[in-house]
């Protein structure tokens, strides 16, 4: 016994002696430590598809366009741009900028990058085609397997990049700020071959920060890029991004002062909501239910209305989620884009749920269901909802289960599965009645949501997202006209009408616009957050 006690006390003393090393992190005023909920998937700007990867790539790489501190876009690597009269030809003149190995950033870097996006069959290659930038030939190359070297991007010389389009693209600047369109040093990438982007030594930086270290699955460390063309704006010397941190552990680190920015889930909100460093941000995702129109029960409008009216969205957002999520008002969420006169698109549409009487009202919900049951000639129906257990929506599923089960005449069942199974097995095969899903905007325009509900998106070759097989000829007509519209106000009004039709038909059942609860070190400023595109821009971070 005595011996053991001695050993134990020695260990404790030893541990205490080493506690000097326990401190660290972001004590100083030029280092920042941020938390990322998820791991990054790839640091190859052509292959990345997730927010975390985008954030980090945007920190060490710049594109033709970039974000200013107020979240608006401005030219970044491009010094100036000449747009042809028909808006089909863009000539960019590049600034003087260097890669971290000393090579200059040239127009060819962009040409190589965009061509290889298609060559590598990147999941985001579609942004070069008719759903995105409309780069000349891009869509036909992707559809018919042509040569990617023929797409409409050429380097006239080292500093001049010419981009030709098949059709006008009203948000080209937003797309060009997206990592898929970032430049890649051809010589370096070819030398690296398979090793490109697999580690720090397989990447070059030309952005506000340099990539210093990457512990896969744990963290990424960056330091200020002294050769950056806008180096004076960058005030932070050391930036650490913690990947896929556990929220409770991160909250403790925040309390310790080792973390400057922490995302917390609803379970921790009550602990911090009264503090002044607690805040909410709009995550940008809209959560909604796909309704399968091929299913007889779901095809009944009264049933759909009843289900929608059974969900107390306010209660769900305020008391269960508590993270700043807000009830959905329609398919297009708030804070996505503004109309010509400066009002928010969703606000202009108004509360489409209330308008169509499908917002929360228990008696009304039951009335709809009763009417629906009568029409179907049944006394009770089976309703099932598929959801992914790996998507962190268990609370929402629980809430919906309770909401739907309380309706008389509904035998409700939850079908838990994984996200990929939900999409590939249930949704794609039409093997569902309701499916809990989300959509995040690829760019800040209403069409990023509205495009999904066209007939052309029913699936198959286009990989469409209209799994419920909703079809309304009038809707498709409006969307087509909006694409052809020349005046912005015309386009807007058409899109607003389309947005309204969706809720009149209850094409989908929107639930909430996802928010996020965050803890921010009061001395940390300049973190730019976007609802669409790259979620976070780190360039303007400062610490007082």
């Amino acid at each position: 016994m005595k011996k053991i006690r001695k050993v134990l006390s020695a260990l404790v003393c030893g541990a205490m002696a080493l506690t000097l090393t326990a401190c660290g992190g972001s004590g100083s005023s030029d280092s920042v430590v941020l938390m990322s909920e998820n791991d990054l998937m790839s640091l190859d700007s052509r292959m990345a598809t997730d927010g975390t990867s985008f954030n980090i790539i945007s920190a060490f790489t710049d594109g033709l366009y970039g974000y200013k501190e107020d979240g608006t876009l401005d030219l970044a690597l491009a010094d100036k741009v000449d747009v042809s009269k028909d808006q089909l030809k863009y000539t960019f003149t590049l600034k003087d900028a260097k890669w971290s190995n000393g090579d200059a950033v040239t127009a060819n870097d962009f040409v190589y990058a965009w061509r290889t996006v298609i060559k590598k069959n990147s999941e985001y290659a579609f942004l070069l085609g008719s759903q995105g930038a409309n780069i000349k030939n891009a869509q036909s190359v992707m559809d018919n397997g042509g040569n990617p070297d023929t797409i409409g991007v050429t380097a006239k010389d080292d500093k001049t990049l010419v981009v030709e389009l098949d059709a006008k693209c009203g948000f080209l600047d937003k797309l060009l700020a997206f990592p898929t369109f970032f430049p890649i040093n051809e010589k370096f990438a070819e030398e690296q071959g398979d090793q490109y982007a697999n580690s720090v030594s397989g990447l070059l930086s030309c952005g506000a920060f340099k990539l210093d270290a990457w512990e896969v699955g744990t963290k990424v460390t960056l330091s200020k890029n002294a050769d950056y063309w806008d180096a004076d704006t960058v005030k932070i010397n050391n930036l650490t991004i913690n990947l896929a941190q556990d929220q409770s552990a991160a909250a403790l680190q925040y309390d310790n002062g080792e973390l400057d920015y922490c995302i917390i889930s609803s379970s921790l909100v009550d602990k911090y909501s009264a503090k002044d460093f607690y805040g909410n941000i709009n995550n940008g995702f809209l959560w909604y239910l796909f309704v399968n129109f091929e299913d007889k029960t779901m095809a009944n409008e009264n049933i759909r209305k009843g289900l929608s009216a059974a969900i107390n969205r306010e209660d769900l957002c305020q008391n269960v989620l508590k993270d700043g999520s807000s009830p959905a008002l329609g398919f297009v969420p708030a804070e996505l884009t503004k109309t010509e006169d400066g009002t928010d698109f969703a606000e202009k549409s108004g509360d489409l749920l209330a308008k169509n009487k499908i917002n929360f009202d228990k008696t009304q919900a039951q009335a709809y269901i009763d009417a629906g049951l009568k029409e179907l000639g049944k006394s009770s129906i089976d309703v099932s909802m598929v959801y992914g257990t790996d998507e962190a929506v268990d609370d929402v599923a629980t809430y919906l289960e309770q909401a739907f089960s309380s309706l008389k005449g509904i035998n409700f069942k939850l079908i838990p599965t994984q996200k990929q199974s939900r999409i590939n097995e249930y949704q794609e095969k039409g093997n569902f009645q309701l499916s809990l899903t989300r959509w995040g905007p690829d760019y800040a325009d209403a069409t990023t949501y509205l495009n999904n509900m066209e007939k052309s998106q029913w699936g198959g070759n286009n990989g469409g997202n209209n799994y419920g097989h909703y079809y309304n000829a009038k809707y498709d007509e409006l969307m087509k006209k909006a694409r052809e519209a020349t005046k912005t106000t015309d386009r807007e009004s058409l899109l607003l009408q389309a947005n309204e039709i969706l809720m009149e038909d209850v094409a989908i059942i929107p639930i909430f616009s996802q928010g996020q609860a965050v803890l921010t070190n009061p001395s940390l400023k300049g973190l730019v957050h976007n609802a669409a595109g790259t979620p976070y821009i780190y360039k303007y971070l400062t610490k007082e």
Binding site: A22, A125, D194, V216, T218, A244, A249, N461
Partner: protein, 314 residues
């Protein structure tokens, strides 16, 4: 070691290779049977998916794919990850993670086994006294409370409330930052080993040869140290082995809490997202370790305990 033992080991090694092969084959087939593909982005069209699948050779018949995989595996090429870290070679992704998980796992097992044995011995020697009850309670708590709860508790108490230990694993400061994770992981080991040791020790203490030795006049200390301990500790290795393999191959939540870049999450995410190569590599690693450790245990058990005879009965 005599010749028959060597023959036994050689035979076992050969059988192990065959077993490993069967495991990989069965697993490969099962993975291909699973619904879905590794490329699940909602924005991919069917034709694009087909092209990507062809690029990685995933459109060939299953057995052809297996042959290619096995051939590559023999040269050390375990393929690349399709989802978790796009296009990163498995040897890099799984390799670095496994080294860290192994170190922690071995440390946790050794610490846990030592403390567990100590606890078990004390409990057995003081059977039915308060010491015994205390040891029982510790064991019960050790198994009833999941390791991740211990992890968070430790983090909260020692990392946040009293800033004694670092709150996250750091590769530059491995020893100190591993203390809390190792303790958290060791708790269930302590519990199991303690209970097991106590039972063994009690049955040894009750046996006839102990009574004889005591009657012969041996003093208490020699009795325990020379006779009781040796006989009760040997069987402990039978449970420590599998426990070690389980901990070494990663524990998801504990690793997440301390930010340890280990194997834990890799296996589960890869199965959920159909990242075949990662699943195969992690399972192979686990199978390999398990088989090796079982072999080592069986052989050493046969060597140390003369009552045991491995191989066919004569």
């Amino acid at each position: 070691m005599d010749k028959s033992m060597l023959k036994y080991i050689a035979k076992r090694l050969l059988i192990s290779l065959v077993t490993l092969f069967v495991i990989i084959l069965v697993l490969f087939l099962m993975l291909k049977l699973m619904p879905g593909t590794p490329f699940n982005d909602e924005k991919l069209s069917a034709s694009q998916k087909a092209v990507i699948m062809a690029k990685y050779g995933l459109d060939k018949p299953v057995l052809t794919q297996f042959a290619t995989y096995f051939k590559n595996m023999c040269t050390g090429d375990f393929g690349v990850s399709y989802v978790i870290q796009k296009d990163m070679p498995i040897s890099q992704l799984v390799g670095t993670a496994s080294i860290i998980s192994f170190k922690l796992g071995i440390a946790a097992t050794i610490v846990g086994a030592l403390i567990g044995m100590l606890l078990g011995i004390v409990a057995a020697l003081n059977k039915n006294t308060w010491l015994d009850s205390l040891a029982t309670i510790i064991s019960v708590l050790g198994v009833s409370i999941p390791s991740f709860v211990f992890a968070l508790l430790l983090l909260y108490l020692l990392g946040a409330k009293i800033h004694i230990l670092p709150t996250a694993y750091s590769s530059t400061n491995q020893f100190v930052s591993s203390i809390m994770p190792v303790i958290a992981l060791a708790m269930s080991v302590i519990a199991n080993v303690a209970r097991f040791t106590r039972t063994e020790m009690i049955s040894v203490l009750n046996s006839d040869y102990m009574t004889l030795a005591e009657a012969k006049g041996l003093d208490h200390k020699t009795l325990i140290m020379k006779h009781a301990l040796r006989n009760s500790l040997i069987p402990v290795i039978t449970i420590v082995g599998p426990i070690m393999v389980n901990i070494m191959t990663g524990t998801m939540v504990v690793e997440k809490i301390f930010g340890i870049p280990g194997l834990g999450k890799l296996l589960i995410s890869s199965i959920q997202q159909n990242d075949y190569n990662v699943t195969l590599a992690c399972s192979f690693l686990y199978a390999f370790l398990y088989i090796v450790i079982v072999l080592v245990i069986d052989v050493s058990y046969g060597i140390i305990d003369p009552r045991i005879r491995l191989g066919k009965d004569e």
